[in-house]
């Protein structure tokens, strides 16, 4: 491996579907590296003495080591290395906001061309075919026999619970996952669209966990079908709450209940979970929009906007209070959205929705904003520009301005300690809640965050639970 700093080759770009073609389909946008491209990219890594990339990863993937192994052609070894700490690399490689995490801390970052760690991780995950379920989950060939007497329940089936299940199964602890919806995966199934994360990847991960002895119960609503107490009565030794932050926030604006105003969660659920993009072959309808406005600047807004384009909208605008620089979306998603023709209406804040006599949305009243002093988050505070408001014509408005904790289980479990924002309070070390042997992690603790942070929490809780259960014997 050469380490001549003067001759750093440019970051290898990833083959993509052409923007003009991809707005007409729901196939994955990024096609992934070939072995050749992956190795070229891997060879760009400096193999730093004190690598900082790993510090940027919430689950501490040993990036330096797996990249070296890949560069040397040892894909299998690279896979094992990643799997030591990350159970869902095919997912993370695709959806992590790498620019703020691993790649954000890469020594090559200042050149503007950090090593494409995420893409390499994705390559390894896609390329390696694991022989056993244990190998696929934790990168080891054999896992201990599952002990049926040590049963752990995970409520919710998002990345936090899936990671916990994989970790515990590898320790020989029996996990049963309980999910309210009819498909497992949490946001990976109902939120993130097919063109960004093919559902077959989520299905494969779940199938692997099943082979590992993890049981899945769908259509099971914690707090309704059963309570946390019922689970302990049935013999579960610990309960993990991976409920997510799926409560859609509305803006409390006039006209918000007009026909044509949707939460991003509803819009995306209809399309992704329910397969609405295949209507009428699939039964669930999706509201057709000609001139679509999406409110917000995060991943959820990008996903909604790009979905609307694919469903045939003539015009899609993202309306955001600040400017493009402040948008919290993953960089790649924003770039892809712009390539595909999504327009940005920045420094604009909706103040009302207006409709016709039938109650159908026709336009949105927008307040012009400017940026003021930075607020607590360090981002400039948007402020209204006096007397500057205007109407945007729109027949479909999608609200993507954030979310809150999923309520059902919290309402049914009044003893569970919550913080001032309404999320579950946990011990930072153990992730135990105020209820003994009840643990929580992921978005239901932190508020809307990232897939890999939820996974980190699942792993952390898994470690603590196995430590306690296996010590007890």
């Amino acid at each position: 491996m050469t380490k001549k700093k003067s001759k750093i080759l440019p970051r290898r770009s990833m083959p993509m579907q052409d923007p003009a073609a991809r707005v007409g389909n729901f196939n994955e946008v990024a096609n992934g590296y070939s072995l050749e491209l992956a190795q070229e990219e891997a060879r760009r890594c400096l193999q730093c003495k004190t690598p900082t990339c790993q510090d940027g990863c919430p689950v501490e993937v040993d990036c330096k080591r797996f990249i070296r192994e890949l560069a040397e052609g040892q894909v299998e070894q690279a896979f094992r290395t990643i799997k030591e700490t990350n159970s869902l690399p095919a997912v993370c490689g695709r959806v992590c906001p790498q620019e703020n995490q691993c790649e954000g801390r890469c020594k090559l970052r200042p050149t503007g061309q950090p090593v494409a760690i995420g893409r390499l991780e994705r390559y390894v995950a896609d390329a390696f075919y694991a022989g056993t379920a244990c190998e696929a989950t934790v990168g080891r060939e054999d896992c201990p026999m599952i002990r049926e007497d040590l049963r752990v329940a995970a409520i919710g089936s998002g990345p936090a619970s899936l990671t916990l299940a994989g970790y515990l199964a590898a320790q020989g602890v029996k996990v049963e996952v309980f999910e309210a919806l009819h498909l497992p995966g949490g946001v990976l199934s109902y939120g993130i669209p097919e063109f960004r994360l093919p559902k077959s990847i989520v299905r494969t991960e779940v199938e692997t966990l099943k082979e590992q002895g993890v049981e899945f119960h769908m259509n099971w609503v914690g707090g309704k079908t059963m309570t946390v107490g019922d689970l302990f009565d049935q013999g579960f030794k610990a309960v993990f709450l991976g409920l997510g932050a799926g409560l859609p926030r509305f803006m409390k604006l006039p006209g918000e209940n007009l026909i044509g105003v949707f939460s991003a969660n509803e819009y995306l659920t209809r399309v992704n979970l329910m397969g609405g993009y295949r209507f009428p072959d699939y039964d669930t309808p999706v509201f057709p929009g000609r001139k679509v406005t999406v409110i917000g600047g995060g991943n959820v807004a990008m996903d909604a906007a790009r979905t609307a384009l694919r469903l045939g909208a003539e015009e899609v605008r993202i309306v955001y209070r600040r400017t493009q620089e402040e948008m919290p979306a993953r960089l790649e998603e924003l770039e892809h959205a712009l390539e595909e023709g999504v327009q940005l209406e920045i420094l604009a804040c909706p103040v009302a929705f207006q409709g016709d006599e039938g109650g159908r949305l026709t336009s949105m009243r927008v307040q012009k904003m400017c940026l003021g002093e930075p607020d607590e988050s360090g981002r400039c505070r948007p402020m209204p520009v006096e007397d500057e408001a205007y109407d945007l014509e729109t027949d479909l408005a999608i609200i993507a301005v954030g979310s809150g904790p999923n309520q059902i289980l919290l309402n049914a479990t009044p003893n569970l300690g919550l913080n001032s924002r309404g999320y579950i309070e946990v011990d930072q070390e153990t992730l135990e809640t105020n209820m003994p042997m009840v643990f929580a992690g992921g978005d239901i603790v932190t508020g809307a965050a990232t897939v890999v942070e939820a996974m980190g929490a699942g792993r952390q809780a898994g470690k603590e639970i196995s430590r306690r259960l296996l010590k007890q014997g």
Binding site: L181, W220, T225, P248, K252, S263, R278, Y282, P285, Q407
Partner: protein
């Protein structure tokens, strides 16, 4: 886990049927006012149906549905012995039931079946249950026998006068309220379940009397667990999610106008879906 259908009874052939499902987990927890969400096939949609009755000992729940579009038409092709792919529940807040004296339970159309479970709850709580039910004609009246078994009184109205009072249920309801007031009876609550225009008419009727009135709202739902906001309704000054905050609300606070409009959100697509289904049936 797929849920088996134990019995099917055609209440009004081709239009309304009753299904008894083997769903012990749901039956053990279901209370009056709860509903389930079901899905019939991998390409199917999630539709909410009220739990019209439960038998916790036998582990069964009863559903009654009216065929109105694609999914209910598909459900109508299911028979005893078949299984339903997904049944999720019990969902929604249960009816708030306490001893209050006389409770008038008003039901219209398939709402009669849903109302039955609520009436049964009030009867068990020791309330004097008066069931007031209406339909277009006698052959479209549902659950009359079941209601007779649990109600102190059953009052009937049909549009064509083929049974009971000729006219609207609200007319019978008004007479009964008047009669109660004259006799000094304490009417603790009025519950109405049925088509939205009926529930709205009941709300308007009872408003001047100041009697607590509860309606069960059937807004369009997707997940049924509070994650989408499709089911939102305006109640007083607040926007509430019918699936988790309801489906029952104070009738005098509900914005029925908005709710009726929102129910038509997908009317074009629903027609398309139904036609698509019919074409498929003819090909098969």
């Amino acid at each position: 886990m797929a849920v088996p259908i134990l019995h099917k009874r055609k209440l009004i052939p081709g239009r309304v049927s009753e299904l008894v499902l083997e769903a012990p987990q749901i039956a053990a927890k279901a209370e009056p006012g709860n509903f389930i969400i079901l899905r019939l096939a991998d390409d199917g949609e999630r539709i909410p149906l009220t739990i019209a009755d439960t038998d916790a000992a036998k582990g069964t729940i009863t559903l009654v549905y009216l065929v109105v579009g694609k999914s209910t038409a598909h459900l109508e092709t299911f028979e005893a012995g078949d299984t339903i792919l997904d049944v999720c529940g019990p969902l929604g807040r249960p009816t708030h039931i306490e001893p209050v004296g006389t409770v008038l339970c008003v039901g219209g159309g398939t709402g009669i079946a849903a109302m039955h479970h609520i009436a049964k709850g009030h009867q068990l709580a020791g309330n004097h249950v008066v069931s007031v039910i209406g339909a277009r004609s006698e052959d479209l009246l549902l659950f009359e026998k079941e209601l007779t078994a649990i109600s102190a009184e059953v009052l009937v109205a049909t549009d064509d006068g083929s049974r009971g009072h000729k006219g609207l249920v609200t007319e019978v309801l008004e007479q009964r309220i008047q009669q109660g007031i004259e006799a000094g009876e304490s009417i603790g609550e009025i519950v109405a379940v049925g088509p939205v225009p009926m529930m709205r008419a009941v709300a308007e009727l009872t408003r001047p009397y100041g009697i607590k009135t509860t309606v069960s709202l059937n807004s369009i739902m997707v997940d049924g667990i509070g994650m989408c906001g499709s089911c939102r309704v305006t109640v007083g000054d607040a926007v509430r999610f019918a699936c988790v905050d309801g489906p029952e609300f104070d009738a005098h606070q509900v914005d029925f106008e908005e709710m009726m409009r929102r129910q038509c959100t997908f009317s074009e697509q629903e027609k398309l879906s139904y036609d698509h289904f019919c074409r498929k049936c003819h090909h098969d």
